[in-house]
């Protein structure tokens, strides 16, 4: 099996126009969750989200295009033979909103998620057609796992993973109707948490076989030795209380990486801030790691829940964590609930070691886990 190297990463979030800016904002404990101006929220249970305001400046058809512009600007050259996997839950859903509101613009195929890989392939001049993974909030985690699997098996030498989702009234209204939104900025793993906050963002991650990375002189920022995906088979919107699917996904990732649970040094958790998701994750982590005090964090209190882009953005952040030996603060967390004391912090958490776990879960009972190992070229600067 080939070793899977992560050689380039970029992230655009409401906290920063680059991975570096996002990382620095996270370390500072900042939050990009603010009052929404994009649409009227009077009919909803929340009025906040983490939006990238510049996307509202005269977007020609959908906000996904200026966001994709920002993501790909300055990204290292991608070999033309790269395979492509994108991840988005709703891609240009604002196009559907405009069509159904009869805002006078012709219907746009931006609302078809298959348009995402077409757009990236066109912009980068890629020779091979790609596809989009749609698996709720585990979409980009699963896309990264599929990319790693292809490289490990020798089916591809290079895979580009791009993920993106925007804040839309379509999604905001739905989570409000489900009573899933926090009234204010979300508070992952906090005793008083009351729901999630939506956010928008994008990430691009370039994966290569180690041999190809060496031939091209690309830095190995991290490697991906393990990945796992599993379903709860329990409920469409609520996670299984016993965390069975997430625990199964984590164990599959550990098995693939040939690692014992003790090898994991920290966790980049899904941590949406809903009562049931966060509890489910803690239950799953306890099932796999036992009584071990394993530091974990969530970024969703800072950048919101970016849906299909969450896993990719969090993978990029995991690279920074591995390079610096720090888990960023869990913004919004203040009071630990039973069993969380010492695990989560509103301050940056140092960790020792070279291996992190990242997890995401979503509607349909889907769960995904990735293991990242610090690369030889990962630097704190």
């Amino acid at each position: 099996m080939n070793e899977v190297a992560l050689v380039a990463a970029q992230a655009i979030t409401a906290l920063g126009d680059s991975l570096e800016a996002t990382w620095n904002g996270l370390l500072a404990g900042a939050s990009a969750i603010r009052p929404l101006k994009r649409f009227d929220t009077a009919g909803y249970v929340s009025a906040v989200a983490a939006c990238i305001d510049v996307l509202d400046d005269g977007a020609p058809s959908s906000r996904v295009h200026p966001l994709l512009d920002r993501l790909l600007q300055g990204f290292p050259p991608v070999p033309a033979d790269a395979a492509l996997i994108t991840a988005s839950t709703k891609w240009g859903i604002d196009g559907l909103e405009r069509t159904l509101r009869r805002e006078g613009r012709p219907p746009s195929t931006d609302m078809l998620a298959a348009g995402f890989p077409l757009e990236v392939g066109r912009r980068l001049g890629l020779a091979r057609p790609g596809y989009n993974v749609s698996a709720a909030c585990a979409s980009s985690t699963i896309a990264l796992g599929q990319a790693a699997a292809r490289i490990a098996a020798g089916d591809a030498e290079v895979v580009l993973v791009c993920c993106l989702d925007i804040v839309s009234e379509f999604v905001f209204s739905g989570f409000s109707a489900l009573s899933g939104l926090a009234a204010g900025p979300c508070r992952p793993f906090d005793k008083g948490r009351d729901g999630l906050s939506l956010g928008e963002g994008a990430a691009a991650l370039l994966l290569m076989s180690r041999q190809r990375a060496r031939r091209l002189g690309m830095p190995v920022l991290a490697t991906i030795p393990g990945w796992g995906v599993a379903g709860d088979a329990h409920h469409i919107t609520a996670p299984a209380r016993d965390g069975c699917g997430l625990a199964q996904a984590i164990r599959a990732a550990l098995l693939r990486a040939k690692l014992a649970p003790a090898a994991i040094c920290g966790i980049n958790a899904h941590g949406t801030g809903t009562v049931y998701n966060d509890l489910m994750e803690l239950t799953a982590f306890a099932a796999v790691f036992g009584d071990r005090v394993l530091p974990l964090h969530s970024v969703k209190g800072a950048i919101g829940h970016t849906l299909g882009a969450a896993g990719g953005i969090e993978a990029a952040i995991a690279i920074k964590s591995l390079a610096t030996g720090k888990l960023p603060p869990t913004t919004g967390f203040a009071t630990a609930e039973d069993g969380v004391a010492g695990l989560v912090s509103a301050q940056a958490l140092p960790f020792s070691g070279d291996i992190l776990l990242a997890t995401n879960s979503g509607f349909g009972g889907i769960n995904a886990a990735l293991i990242f190992e610090r690369g030889q070229d990962a630097h704190a600067g």
Binding site: G43, F116, Y131, N132, D155, A230, G231
Partner: protein, 251 residues
């Protein structure tokens, strides 16, 4: 040829009707409205929620159920780590429109949480997972090429590589939503799913499939062009439909 998998079952729901591999009746994916699928035509035990699901979920779930029944895997006691992989061009866009129609009046105060839960194309896979105890990897692939084989290739790789004990893989699409306008290509909605398992010594399989190492699917050594050709080949049907039209997937 790379590692083989066996097709243990096959099920479909299309304008031509519903059916499964081991039941005579043929397979046809043609233009036209999808049939109104009754719960009792597809499920052997009560499923009260089925009739309230959106059309995309109903046809996908029906085809998956028929495929599992064809493979004699529709009954279960303990969860099974089978993968569920579907390819779709339009996904749940029609359901999205129905949902957003509940948002537009009253400033969103009447938005339907029940419909919202099905505005993710993977939701019907979640329903299948719950109904049939399937705890393996699951996702929908939106493939612009539209041949419908992307999901099959991924599922075959998972089964052959040991990532899943078995897989249910296929395509699912309702008609192209009217508000998108025509794109000049034939619209043949429907769902087709195959149950795949590792190749072994059993004789009760419908066909063996292989991967050609270039993203292609092989049936009896020949590369298949699309999902319709694959199913026609598995069922030993002639290559043309009853009106002399070549059976092709919507793309």
């Amino acid at each position: 040829m790379q590692a083989e998998v066996e097709v243990a079952g096959l099920g479909w729901a299309s304008a031509g009707g519903i059916g499964r591999g081991r039941r005579p009746g043929g397979f046809l994916r043609e233009a036209g409205p999808l049939p109104a699928i009754r719960r009792k035509d597809v499920f052997s035990t009560p499923f009260p929620r089925f009739g309230r699901l959106d059309e995309f979920s109903r046809i996908g779930l029906a085809a998956i159920s028929l495929a599992l029944r064809d493979a004699d895997l529709d009954n279960w006691q303990e969860k099974r780590p089978y993968a569920l992989i579907a390819a779709s061009v339009y996904g749940c866009l029609a359901t999205d429109a129905r949902y957003f129609a509940t948002v537009l009046p009253a400033g969103g105060r009447e938005a339907s949480p029940n419909l919202f839960a099905y505005t993710l194309p993977n939701s019907f896979l979640g329903e299948a997972a719950i109904r049939f105890g399937l705890s393996g990897p699951a996702c929908v692939l939106n493939d612009p090429a539209g041949a419908g084989l992307t999901a099959l290739v991924l599922a075959m790789s998972m089964v052959a590589g040991g990532e899943a004990g078995a897989a249910v893989a296929g395509v699912c699409d309702v008609a192209r939503p009217v508000f998108l306008g025509p794109d000049g290509r034939p619209d043949r909605p429907g769902a087709v799913f195959l149950v795949l398992r590792p190749a072994g010594n059993r004789q009760d399989f419908l066909a063996r499939l292989g991967l050609d190492g270039r993203g292609g699917v092989l049936l009896r050594g020949d590369r298949v062009a699309d999902m319709e050709s694959l199913v026609a080949g598995i069922l030993h049907l002639p290559g043309a439909g009853p009106h002399g039209q070549r059976l092709t997937v919507i793309s």
